[in-house]
């Protein structure tokens, strides 16, 4: 691998891992929101605020 190859690999890996984190956080958020909405539709709610 030339030096450019190492640099490209490092940047590519960083981009993959960081965007992977972002994607995970966004998708997990959508999953949880969907679950909450689904439970809400079924009429199961918390009484009042606070966990």
């Amino acid at each position: 691998m030339t030096h450019m190859g190492f640099i490209a690999a490092a940047y590519a890996l960083t981009a993959i891992v960081l965007s992977g984190l972002i994607v995970w956080v966004v998708i997990d958020g959508r999953i949880q929101k969907a679950a909450l909405d689904d439970l809400d539709k079924r009429g199961i709610r918390r009484r009042g605020g606070g966990a």
Partner: protein, 243 residues
């Protein structure tokens, strides 16, 4: 802090703040990368110094994230802050990812520089141990059936690990001086020129903003996840245990 103890308040506030965090992250990282690619090539390392701009901030964040986990651990054990363990749980995988990046980019930097994929120098070795500690935290969390019960044991582990970090650093430094390689390599020059320091600091800020955005988002997800769990338990007709 006291207002943030209320998860509902936290959710409302974070929802408003998060878009700004993402925007700021994108802008700062873009600026940082632009400055990095425009900075002069290093006298010794040539273009490979470009890796420094994504390696060093990753290592900074790896450390900073663990410090945040340690502070959250104090929040759980000492002040019983309700969101402290949410903070710690959300931060752990993010910190592990940054640590992984620090290791891999360090390795990719090392190969052209020193000729080997891995070098047991003091800094990389300490980061490797830090990575193992992150994995330990995540492993302990997942070993508990009920995530809420894991909060305090994991907090203890996090604090024990945090106290150990200077001990580990001291030990690895000592070990490294014994096994001194033929020449001493420093990942950065004796002094970093301002033309390289500024982009580095900008990338550092950018990485920090990225971490904050990810952390807040992950905390929101965790709060939602726990609500879902509590509601499902309720729906199954079993009384939810008092938390």
């Amino acid at each position: 802090m006291i207002e943030l103890a209320n998860p509902t308040y936290f959710m409302a506030l974070s929802q408003r703040v998060l878009p700004w965090l993402w925007a700021a992250t994108a802008v700062v990282i873009a600026v940082g990368l632009f400055m990095a690619f425009r900075a002069p090539a290093d006298y010794q390392q040539g273009l490979t110094v470009l890796i420094m701009y994504i390696h060093v901030p990753a290592a900074w964040l790896a450390m900073m994230c663990y410090s945040i986990i340690a502070i959250s651990a104090l929040g759980t054990l000492v002040w019983r802050h309700p969101l402290a363990d949410v903070s710690a749980k959300a931060a752990a995988p993010i910190g592990a990812a940054f640590t992984f990046l620090a290791l891999v980019t360090g390795s990719l930097w090392g190969k052209p520089m020193w000729g080997t994929w891995w070098v047991w120098d003091a800094r990389l070795t300490s980061v490797l141990i830090l990575f193992l500690m992150y994995l330990g935290l995540i492993a302990l969390w997942r070993a508990f059936d009920d995530p809420a019960r894991a909060a305090r044991p994991v907090a203890i582990l996090a604090l024990v690990g945090f106290v150990n970090i200077p001990i580990i650093k001291f030990s690895v430094d000592w070990w490294n001086t014994l096994h001194q390689p033929a020449s001493v390599f420093r990942l950065d020059g004796p002094t970093i020129d301002a033309s390289m320091l500024t982009p580095l600091l900008v990338m550092g800020v950018g990485y920090t903003l990225l971490f904050l955005a990810l952390h807040v988002a992950a905390m929101r997800n965790e709060v939602m996840r726990r609500r879902v769990r509590a509601l499902r338990v309720k729906a199954a007709g079993i009384l939810a245990p008092a938390e």
